[in-house]
């Protein structure tokens, strides 16, 4: 089984790290080996943030080699061109325009909406990813985020149920 490389990109405060934690947790739940790495620190002050998530039977390096991301999930329009060189030829870009902000139940749920969009492409069931979303959030946010997840999933041409 080939290692799947996902890079999430955005600005500090948008939930890039949270989304990557959720994705990594979902892969663990699916029984896969996972590595995740990010650079934070100064970057959390509104600057660019990227996080790499890799999963498969056996993952070695924690970093996605440049130009080898199978999926690039971008949360901020300003980061699309910045992050594009990370994407592999034939890789899938899931950008912030996929789910219009007006449709989101909550502006802060864009990260979960894009995970919903990503879920149609992954080698494990979308339900595993949604379960990881819920596990990472307090119960009062579950309904809103499930709605965002489904919006993203519908936008990418899939449905949870």
């Amino acid at each position: 089984m080939k290692v799947t490389n996902v890079v999430l990109a955005g600005l500090g405060g948008q939930g890039v790290i949270k989304a990557s934690d959720i994705l990594a947790d979902a892969a663990v739940r699916a029984g896969l080996d996972v590595k995740k790495s990010e650079v934070h620190g100064m970057s959390q002050r509104g600057g660019s943030v990227t996080s790499d998530v890799r999963f498969g039977e056996k993952v070695l390096s924690p970093m996605v080699p440049r130009g080898e991301a199978d999926f690039l999930v971008v949360l901020s329009p300003s980061e699309v061109e910045v992050a594009r060189p990370l994407l592999a030829a034939g890789g899938v870009l899931l950008g912030p325009d996929l789910v219009p902000e007006a449709k989101l139940p909550n502006r802060k749920s864009l990260n979960v909406a894009l995970l919903g969009a990503l879920s149609s492409h992954l080698p494990f069931p979308p339900a595993a990813l949604l379960a990881a979303v819920k596990a990472a959030l307090p119960e009062r946010l579950h309904a809103v985020n499930e709605q965002a997840f489904e919006l993203g999933r519908a936008a990418a041409g899939g449905s949870v149920r």
Binding site: K35, S37, V39, G41, G46, G47, S61, P62, V82, P85
Partner: protein
């Protein structure tokens, strides 16, 4: 046995420290090391933030003299601050265990330089252990404790950003030991490093290192993965993982102990392969040591000394490719938060055309757009000394524009001695020290410090008062001001102090916007706790 968990390298070290019965963890927050003590505390370990890394190391050393297991954490530049006691701790050794974590930041994601702290272990004469991922960070920590106890030496545990902040699956062993009680045995000749005691201590240290080097020849933490003999890679830390992915058919010698090196094992490995390349991040520390020992190895080309390694770069190193690398994507730089209380201070500094001797913290961002109002930034606490030097050197009309700008946590860390210098050797034009006090160590993620009045786990403790300290030190003019609430008033105050020929401290105080809600919560909890204690005390009377 607990199931496997997805943990960062930092969290893995915290779990290992807890499971190994570490009695005390101390350090100073610094990316990428900060989460170790936070996670250790959350697990139930006894953890505390020290005012700075030197104090942290001294406290950890004292605990280890007291026969318990101690952990001290810091980022790479923190070890510069702690270097003074580190070198002599190698001479005195310890009674319990002392593991010093150095979290290096190759590529400088959040640091002012990219020094390679393996060199500190070599310079001080300490064993240096280096894990590649979180599971290894967990496992090697136990080895570090065992090494420290067996040879009675502090051990340097070197991590890097992609070990500290990379998450992978870890299978913890479960708690094996609870912290044991400390005890003291007098050993004046062993611990009092006056020259007559230090001379034999240095010889003892070198003898211990020779023993450890012999042990390292057979120790499983340095392992050979024999594959195709056409290419051999000698590697350490996260570079091992990049190498294993970049050159899966190559033979590999993976070092877990990078000082002292198992030179005979390395010699045999190098001789067993046709071509031998050292793949290491940062400085060519291992490659130089091998060449000095007469072992023919290839080092990476100089261009790969800068920044982090990754799989693509290791492929290039193996292919001896020194063609220019594609430029990394230029992201958006960080900036002060929109409602940050520092905005008003920087607006005034810019408007008054101040020469700003700055420091390390969120306010370093004042050097960027839109203010570009920071002229120097060297090291923790350097704002004070550098500002004073500028005041001494510049003609009076320029000297009067110099301001030292420092944050609250950094002031406690190493600004206090700079303020003593300002009181002791005041420049003829006086000086202005601006302490930007947002009530937290903001840059690293809002940790407590002695000025917040709360301990690492946010419980109330005595509070160091910056303004009363400055007054007690003899600063003639000390003012506390909320620049955010009254920007015009702040600008007037700053202009007035700049014009005066005396030393003044201005504490611009307002909580960090990101931390304010939490601070209110902790203050409320603290007040409730104190009220309950008072009630209890009254009932007992």
């Amino acid at each position: 046995m607990p199931d496997q968990q997805l943990l960062s390298g930092d969290e893995a070290v915290a779990h290992a420290a807890f499971d190994a019965g570490v009695a005390l963890g101390t350090g100073y927050p610094g990316t990428p090391s900060t989460e170790i003590l936070e996670a250790f505390s959350a697990l139930g370990g006894r953890a505390q933030w020290a005012p700075n890394e030197k104090v942290a190391l001294e406290v950890g050393l004292g605990a280890a003299y007291g026969a318990v297991r101690a952990l001290v954490t810091m980022k790479h530049v923190g070890l510069n601050v702690a270097a003074d006691p580190l070198f002599t701790a190698a001479y005195t050794g310890v009674t319990g265990a002392l593991v010093v974590v150095s979290a290096d930041d190759p590529g400088m994601s959040s640091s002012q330089n990219e020094q390679d702290n393996r060199r500190y272990g070599i310079a001080a004469g300490l064993p240096v252990l280096e894990p590649a991922d979180a599971q290894e960070a967990y496992d090697l920590f136990f080895t570090a404790v065992e090494l420290s106890e067996r040879w009675k030496l502090p051990v340097l545990f070197r991590m890097t950003t992609r070990v500290c902040h990379a998450k992978s699956l870890v299978r913890p062993r479960g708690r094996r030991e609870t912290p044991r009680p400390g005890h003291f045995e007098r050993d004046i000749a062993g611990r009092v490093m006056i020259p007559s005691n230090a001379r034999p201590a240095h010889r003892r240290l070198r003898a211990k290192l020779a023993e450890i080097a012999a042990w390292a020849e057979e120790a499983p933490l340095n392992r050979v993965e024999a594959r195709d003999p056409a290419l051999g890679l000698i590697t350490d830390g996260v570079a091992y993982l990049h190498a294993a992915e970049a050159a899966p058919t190559a033979s590999v010698l993976k070092l877990g102990l990078v000082h002292p090196l198992p030179l005979e094992k390395l010699r045999r490995f190098a001789a067993s392969v046709e071509r031998c390349v050292v793949v290491e991040e940062g400085d060519p520390v291992i490659a130089d040591a091998l060449r000095a020992a007469g072992i023919a190895v290839e080092s990476k080309p100089e261009m790969y000394r800068f920044g982090e390694l990754d799989v693509a770069r290791v492929r290039r190193i193996v292919a001896r490719d020194t063609s220019p690398e594609p430029a990394p994507p230029r992201g958006k730089p960080p900036e002060l938060c929109p409602a940050c209380p520092y905005h008003a201070a920087y607006a005034a500094l810019k408007k008054l055309d101040c020469i700003v001797a700055g420091d390390i913290g969120c306010y370093s961002l004042g050097a960027l757009q839109p203010y570009q109002a920071m002229d120097t930034c060297v090291a923790m606490g350097a704002a004070l000394g550098v500002g004073l030097g500028l005041r001494h050197a510049l003609p009076p009309e320029q000297a009067r524009r110099v301001v030292s700008v420092i944050g609250d946590s950094t002031f406690v860390h190493s600004g206090i001695t700079g303020l003593a210098e300002a009181v002791y050797n005041p420049p003829p034009t006086g000086h202005v020290v601006l302490v930007l006090d947002n009530g937290t160590t903001a840059m690293t993620g809002q940790q407590e410090h002695p000025g917040t009045g709360r301990t690492l786990d946010h419980a109330p403790t005595a509070q160091l008062s910056i303004e009363r300290l400055a007054e007690a030190m003899g600063v003639p003019s000390v003012t506390v001001f909320d620049a955010f609430a009254d920007p015009a008033g702040f600008e007037r105050l700053l202009a007035e102090r700049l014009a005066a020929p005396t030393l003044s401290v201005i504490v611009a105080r307002r909580p960090c916007i990101l931390a304010a809600a939490d601070i209110r919560k902790w203050e409320k909890a603290g007040a409730e706790r104190r009220a309950a204690q008072a009630c209890l005390a009254q009932a007992e009377e």
